[in-house]
Symmetry: C2
């Protein structure tokens, strides 16, 4: 798995040259909290890598490499580690990123993983910067992962397997490169409404989301309108949400078509205290019980 | 704690410019494995940061910043986090390094910490590169931390508190900057004999350590020769061990004096299959039951 810059993982650290601006982020995942202890190890590995790659996508950055620490119960067997490494190898190829270093320890508790991703960009995208009149856009479809979690909990049918797959294996939108095009952006990890709220607070603006415009997969559509709140607040989408000046719309649509990513305008930003209003099918504001995922 | 480049920890990643070669490493620490659950939180924080800084010292690099993930039991109270952050703040000032990002999650298991350190260097030091005839040198004193662990376990007296302090709070040797002076080096974390073995394997050489030359603190000397094997194999020293051509000895000694770090020649490298021979006071090879710390 190791990159040449990892020096065969024999030194105390990896050495690398990075041109442009360095972009760094870290995420942890704990068995029983972020995944189930008997989830397929290759999917666990790939999800951890992909949620971190999604942070790079959010900043309009390309991957450089990653470091990972694994704290594993002593009874974790070699087959588990082999499958875990196979998953990493597969996504290393898919996303052109390699291991730079890390640490393996034992733990008397659940398997705990931590990954630090390194990327580079010439034109970063920030959370702050949305302007009044900007459109609010998202990539792909929203809500599949939150519904997929319900599927895995046996609370929802999923005849095509699409929803569960979207929960287990997010797709980081690295190709879109919104730096210099969008005025602000992030990846939707905590839930659409909460994450749009982050864009609002960073800009000192309010936003309105038109619920009917939120793009749904066929599988989510089949689940029905009763799950709308889950779709809007459930999290784990790892799509991008961003603010786009109207003057850049043609450029965005061309670029998105080139890389095969769908983009949808779901609302807009306006003057007003930081707040996210969700407008329902009849033009009335929807009242939501919660906005998204609580980290702790 | 956050660096300006951390963007107030509000974005998906930190953005930074790094000149020279980027140096990255990561280490994890688990309560009950690497520290005791009721250890002072500020010392836990500072040790985690310092063991990572020691990896930079080993590579002859300066700190740039760090990312940390914390997986904490839900009953971890605010006072614990406050003391932990105070410890980080103290060492951030001491070592001119700041937080770049991270993640906080809950865990049903023990407190688990992971830290990724970023550094920069113009002249890295590698593990590979020792040459036959190079001297084997170490900084500071060896064995204090391993004896300090025995003190904390109630197995050894420590009237001055020196040994326990050295276990709880290693001192990364960042000032020495051996790149371009030493031919190879690392930090002694797994135990002197095992880590010198790493230098040997990387170079395809053997090494001899003269036990009487291994520098001991007054406190370690008081503990007595019965603990020699613990001193040589116990680990957690976070001193530097390095190979030095005889022609560079004067330069090393001058530099070490300038930064106030003691350096001691404890042996030498020679042709031969990778192996570490420890020569005792009577010139006989010492037989050691183990070479050092097993990671997993």
């Amino acid at each position: 798995l190791a990159a040449p810059q990892a020096l065969d993982l024999l030194d105390d650290a990896a050495l690398l040259q990075v041109s442009g601006t360095l972009v760094v982020a870290a995420d942890a995942m704990v068995a029983g909290v972020h995944f189930l202890p008997d989830d397929p190890p290759d999917l666990v590995a790939r999800k951890l890598l992909r949620v971190n790659l999604s942070d790079l996508a959010a900043m309009s950055a390309d991957p450089v490499g990653y470091l990972m620490t694994i704290s594993a119960p002593r009874d974790t067997d070699a087959a588990w580690f082999a499958a875990f490494a196979d998953g990493l190898a597969q996504d290393q190829r898919a996303f052109d990123v390699r291991l730079l270093g890390g640490d393996t320890t034992s733990t008397p508790g659940p398997l705990t993983l931590s990954l630090t991703i390194l990327g580079r960009t010439l034109q970063p995208l920030r959370r702050a910067g949305a302007r009044p009149g900007d459109g609010l856009w998202v990539t792909g479809t929203i809500g599949d992962a939150a519904l997929g979690l319900l599927v895995l909990q046996g609370r929802l049918p999923d005849p095509t397997g699409h929803l569960a797959a979207r929960y287990q294996l997010p797709l980081p939108r690295l190709e879109l490169k919104l730096g210099g095009v969008a005025s602000a952006g992030l990846d939707v990890s905590d839930g659409l409404v909460q994450d749009v709220g982050h864009l609002c607070r960073a800009a000192g603006l309010s936003a309105a989301i038109e619920a009917v415009r939120v793009p749904l997969s066929d599988a989510a559509r089949v689940a029905g309108p009763g799950w709308l709140e889950t779709v809007l607040t459930g999290g784990d989408d790892y799509e991008l949400a961003f603010a786009l000046p109207q003057a850049r719309e043609a450029e965005l649509v061309t670029r998105a078509a080139e890389v095969g990513i769908t983009v949808t305008r779901i609302g807009n930003f306006m003057e007003g205290p930081p707040n996210v209003q969700v407008v329902g099918p009849e033009g009335r504001e929807l009242a939501l019980a919660r906005q998204g995922w609580q980290h702790f």
